[in-house]
């Protein structure tokens, strides 16, 4: 009989009609390292949020059994008290405080009503030894590299009585050396009896460290593999991750000839000085007129960063390499330059940086191309209504009125407004970043149909997507990215999801 520290039985979690988790079973044995694997959107994060009490008891179906008792976590603090600690990708440290202050933040060692700083320092040195981090505890967090910050975060969780440690893609932001150190540390903690759940996209890591691996797909548990029975291998994992059939939801497209190269990148790199690393590494890309190229890759692989570095570089990366539009070398100082050159970028985060949610639909549709409805700086508001009506019709935007605030529309209709806004600029090159994220199947099909219509009109499209089906279903050619670099180029014919996933998890 196995000794399970955690059993999650029949967990189902719905968001307004969509099942994010569907009868998930997940069991973790005491003292093992258990990897949780799945594509973006497979339900890993949701499952961990259910476990940690972010989604309180009662908002999901199923049981959480931890240490033999059924748990009812109403908030995160409840799960922390029970001994469950999660370390997210986005570290929750205070950059302007010292290492020791961070380790005991929210868990201060007290002497009467006051904080006992001396004891805090003594204890934090012990914690740092546990995670094998050799730094002065008085160092400020912001002066440490990401790898060391991660160790501080682990030290912080160890300062509380943690029985189950959950790490969400801990190595995503780390270089190879730091990653290896971290994995070594996890093994070390395992020998001290701490159970660990690790979410990871990097299969090599999984293979090197996991005792067991559970694979989620579309909110369902697919399989749990046991390393000690020799079940874990790259090909088995990939097969189980993707094994989805390509549904027949992609509109038929007639074969057609491509025109000249409209966009070319040579040795294109982008350095993010805030992160202190390259987000795009020596990318070479060509896009022909009338072509759809897909950019596949997991989240954080540099796809959006690549798009932004092309589109006038609003994040102010340090960019190197050549970009040619229609055979001419270009350098964009501002997004407006890119727009002038005929490039449009439909963002993945339409609510965050795509739309003006409090403004009405027609306002949003014209926002990137006010020239189209004005003469010497004076707007023709009637013309705006006309433009709005045209896009409402051609893109099938379902709304009671063009004067409705965009924030009140459904996701699919918001996406259409976002798309319409860029079509109105009359682009030659359209970059679509996750064009169908968070919208229903019907709206997806409409977006695909519009894309086909656009290339027929001579536009070229770069489509960034996490959905492998979509990439294979829509693209003429596919570039796969991993950690900022392009790891492969595939043609539409004969590409499999496995082949893409292999390149994406390099």
């Amino acid at each position: 009989m196995s000794d399970y520290i955690l059993e999650m039985n029949g967990i189902t979690k719905e968001f307004t009609g969509i099942k994010a988790l569907d009868d998930v079973n997940f069991k973790v044995e005491r003292g093992e390292i258990h990897c949780l694997i799945g594509e973006n959107g497979a339900g890993k994060s949701t499952l961990m949020k259910v476990l940690s009490g972010v989604y309180p008891y009662g908002t999901y179906d199923g049981d959480i059994v931890f240490e033999g008792d059924v748990q009812r976590f109403n908030e995160i603090n409840d799960s922390v008290k029970a001994g469950i600690a999660i370390i997210y990708q986005e570290l929750a440290l205070f950059p302007d405080l010292t290492v020791y202050e961070n380790i005991f933040a929210g868990n201060e060692i007290r002497k009467g009503p006051f904080v006992d700083w001396n004891e805090t320092i003594v204890q934090s040195v012990k914690m740092l030894e546990k995670v094998k981090l050799k730094v002065d505890p008085e160092t400020l967090i912001k002066d440490l590299g990401v790898g060391k910050q991660q160790l501080v975060e682990i030290a912080k969780t160890l300062s509380k009585e943690v029985k189950l440690l959950i790490l969400d893609e801990p190595t995503a932001a780390l270089n190879e050396n730091d990653s290896e150190n971290l994995l070594e540390l996890l093994k070390e903690l395992r020998s001290q009896g701490i159970t660990c759940i690790m979410i990871s996209h990097k299969l090599k890591e999984v293979i090197s460290i996991a005792d067991k691996a559970t694979i989620l797909r579309d909110g369902k548990t697919i399989v749990t593999l046991d390393a000690h029975k020799g079940e874990i291998s790259e090909s088995v994992i990939i097969k189980n991750m993707v094994g989805r059939e390509i549904a027949d939801i992609y509109p038929k497209r007639l074969d057609h000839e491509f025109g000249d190269t409209v966009l070319e990148l040579n040795n294109w790199s982008a350095y993010d000085s805030q992160l202190g690393r390259h987000v795009v590494k020596k990318a070479n890309i060509q896009l022909k007129q009338g072509e759809i190229i897909g950019i596949a890759g997991l989240m954080g692989s540099g796809r959006t960063e690549l798009a932004l570095s092309i589109f006038g570089n609003p994040k102010k990366y340090k960019v190197e390499g050549d970009m040619q539009v229609n055979g001419r070398d270009v350098q964009f100082k501002h997004t407006s330059d890119a727009i002038k050159a005929g490039i449009a970028y439909v963002t993945e985060d339409r609510k965050g940086n795509g739309l003006f949610l409090i403004n009405d639909i027609k306002n949003n549709l014209t926002a990137a191309h006010l020239k189209g409805i004005s003469q010497s700086g004076v707007l023709n508001l009637n013309e705006e209504v006309k433009v709005g009506s045209e896009y409402r019709k051609s893109l099938h935007i379902k709304t009671s009125s063009l004067e409705l605030a965009v924030g009140k529309l459904s996701g699919g209709n918001q996406q259409k407004v976002s798309l319409g806004k860029w079509l109105f600029t009359g682009p030659k090159i359209l970059i679509l970043d996750e064009p169908t994220r968070g919208i229903d199947v019907g709206a997806k099909f409409e977006i695909y149909t519009i894309m086909n219509e656009l290339i027929k009109q001579g536009m070229s499209i770069i489509m960034i997507s996490s959905e492998l089906n979509e990439i294979i279903g829509m693209s003429d050619r596919i570039y796969v990215m991993a950690e900022g670099a392009i790891t492969g180029e595939l043609s539409r014919a004969g590409t499999t999801q496995e082949a893409i996933m292999e390149l994406a998890t390099q």
């Binding site: 589109f311 006038g312 609003p314 501002h334 997004t335 407006s336 890119a338 727009i339 970028y345 963002t347 965050g352 940086n353 795509g354 739309l355 003006f356 949610l357 409090i358 403004n359 306002n363 926002a367 990137a368 006010l370 020239k371 004005s374 700086g377 004076v378 707007l379 508001l381 009637n382 209504v385 006309k386 605030a405 924030g407 009140k408 806004k421 600029t425």
Partner: protein, 391 residues
Amino acid sequence: MSFFNEARFLIKTNIRDYGMYIALFVIMLTFSVMTDGLFMSSRNISNLLDSAGYIAVLAVGMTLIIVIRHIDLSVGFVAGFLGAVAAIFLTQMGLSVWLVIPIVMVFGIIIGLFNGFLVAKIGIPSFVATLAGMLIFRGALLNVTESTGTIIVNDDLFNSLGNGFIPSLVEVNGLHLLSVLVGAVGIALYIYSELSTRRNKVTYGFEVISLPIFIVKLVFVSFIIGYITWVLAGYNGFSWTVVIMLLVVVIYHFLSTKTVLGRNIYAVGSNPEAAHLSGINVTKITMIVFGSMGMLAALSGILFTARLQSATTTAGTLFELDAIAAAYVGGVSSAGGVGKVTGAIIGAIVMASLSSGMNLLGVGISYQYMIRGGVLAAAVIFEVMTRKQRG
């Protein structure tokens, strides 16, 4: 849709826009009743509008500043300082009014652009950058008035900006003819613009409000313009301050609602990141809005100096807070992207009405502050509630 249903629908959907007009109406009606009509007397209304002028122009600029999610605390003493500079140019250097006004306005623009530079290019929070400006210009005002103390301005042309009235031509039955004409032209222009907008919409095939409602609206607004004209014409007619205030509103209203620049300002306020990704130069827009604020601060300083016929060492004290209050009463939202220029003027008039009415009633100054604070809080509560409704 029946007449009343349509009217109710229009009021319900536009409650946010009509709210402050209704508030102003209620305030004026209350004071009129309580003062036996003294509040609505020609003389009082004329004084009230004149006293609102220098805050109203600041409130217009402040509204746009708040729309783009910033604040400008320096405007009070910038106004005070530039008012003193104008006085010095006029008295000590003997420059002509026609030269002084544009020069001082240009100074205002330069100061505003500098604030904008600190905020947009260097990235200093506007609260801090303009707080520094507030201290600097307070010092500058004291510095230029140090040797002389209060500077008396004797230039009649200049002073008429704050105290004078447009010429009357002839008085008919105690009414000033030119002012009546101005009012009549105003009504004619209003009706013409409404008609042409409607005709334009019809040629585009758009829906318009039904004819009865349209006529009621025309008659109602024309009546209000006519009534105000009649009230003012019974005293001294339109003052230059009112004329300047109207000009500022008309120009800024046009800029903010009918131009690419205006649309970009609201886009930046609504979502700066989306604005940047839409090809809008957020830095440039921020500079322009602060520049315009500086220009209006200069105008405010000119109006205030002209009104007092002198530049004092404390001119401009707390103007910035009055302007911010007026902007909020006028419906601007601190979350950005929402707020109208016309609202700012109404806000300024509401605040001036409260002071004027309470003075007439002999309410003590301590209670006056409390009541004005209460009205400001109520206006912001109303704004927050209607925004939730908007979603």
